[in-house]
């Protein structure tokens, strides 16, 4: 299946979990937020979330400056 991660197309095994994608991309989960198809996905939902063909994922870092 194909997904887009921060506007870059990736081919993943069907049914891959979000947490597996983060691990494969070597992204430390504590420093990022995830939006799936335009909606922020609460961290409590990450472990159960499986990705689907065509999914749009945006990862962005938490910022607190001001």
């Amino acid at each position: 299946m194909n997904i887009r991660l921060n506007d870059i197309e990736l081919t993943l095994p069907t049914g891959q979990r979000l947490t597996e994608l983060l691990a494969a991309q070597e992204i430390a989960p504590q420093g990022v937020a995830v939006a799936l198809n335009g909606a922020v996905l609460p961290r409590s939902r990450w472990p159960e979330t499986r990705l689907n063909d065509g999914d749009e994922i945006h990862l962005f870092t938490a910022i607190a400056g001001g």
Binding site: G38, V40, P42, R43, F60, A62, I63, A64
Partner: protein, 257 residues
């Protein structure tokens, strides 16, 4: 007659003439602004333009909280301050500067870094809280105090070329902890990664814009979303931000934990 039983003086009709012309403000809205009070937590790059715009607009009472003193590295973006204020309290300087800007506004300087212990008493005094601080712990403390008291709240952040904005004005809206959990790690700060002055100016000005809407009794279209601004690409992203039922701060299961 206005609902808040606050009347405007002649000088205020002249001063606020351009916003009195707006159908969404008018005389009643101006009196409403005059009756409102706002707590601004952090008087840095976000808080500077925010405080200037809210004082300029005639918001009745501003509580100005910051425990820092002015450093020369603040001056490119913290437009409340100039070189004559170096090493002086930001809260005190902000009070002086804003008093000169608009003598019709009541100003209260809080020369301390508010934390989870001290915040609730100040939050209880105001109609709206605006998070302009520079660290995650304070942001979570502001969020928790506002959620606990059902107080509307506007938060913005900026680092490098990236800005974020969110608004919470009703119990069903997501809170800060729905976005970033308490164990979130911040990898970039203004101290470690730098920040562009006009970016914090944009984000602080947007906080002022949404603040005026809430104070006027209007909804903020930002509520329920996260607005992200990539200043380098000049691109905005609007993400839906659902409330997390498992959120330990605002979630429906919070009392189970």
């Amino acid at each position: 007659m206005c609902s808040d039983e606050v009347s405007l003086r002649d000088e205020e009709y002249l001063r606020y003439g351009r916003q009195l012309m707006l159908a969404e403000i008018g005389e009643e809205g101006q009196a409403r602004l005059k009756a409102k009070s706002v707590l601004i937590v952090g008087l840095g790059g976000l808080g500077s333009p925010l405080a200037l715009y809210l004082a300029g607009a005639g918001v009745g009472t501003l509580w100005l909280a910051d425990g820092d003193v002015v450093d020369s590295s603040n001056l490119p973006r913290q437009i409340l301050f100039d070189g004559e204020g170096l090493r002086r309290s930001k809260a005190e300087l902000a009070r002086e500067r804003l008093a000169a800007h608009n003598p019709h506004v009541e100003l209260i300087a809080i020369n301390q870094r508010l934390d989870a212990h001290s915040l609730p008493a100040f939050v209880a005094e105001v109609d709206l809280v605006i998070d302009c601080c520079d660290n995650l712990a304070s942001r979570h403390a502001i969020n928790a105090a506002c959620v606990g008291q059902g107080k509307p709240w506007i938060s913005a952040a900026a680092v490098g070329w990236q800005g974020q904005l969110m608004v919470r004005s009703a119990p069903e809206h997501p809170c800060y902890a729905c976005l970033y959990t308490a164990d979130t790690e911040i990898k970039e700060s203004c101290q470690s990664s730098g920040v562009t002055g006009p970016l914090v100016g944009v984000m602080g000005s947007l906080q002022a814009l949404e603040a005026l809407k809430l104070l006027l009794g209007r909804p903020s279209p930002v509520a329920g979303t996260l607005r992200r601004f990539d200043a380098l690409a000049h691109e905005w992203q609007t993400l839906r931000l659902p409330a997390d039922p498992d959120c330990p701060v605002c979630g429906s299961h919070k009392d189970d934990q």
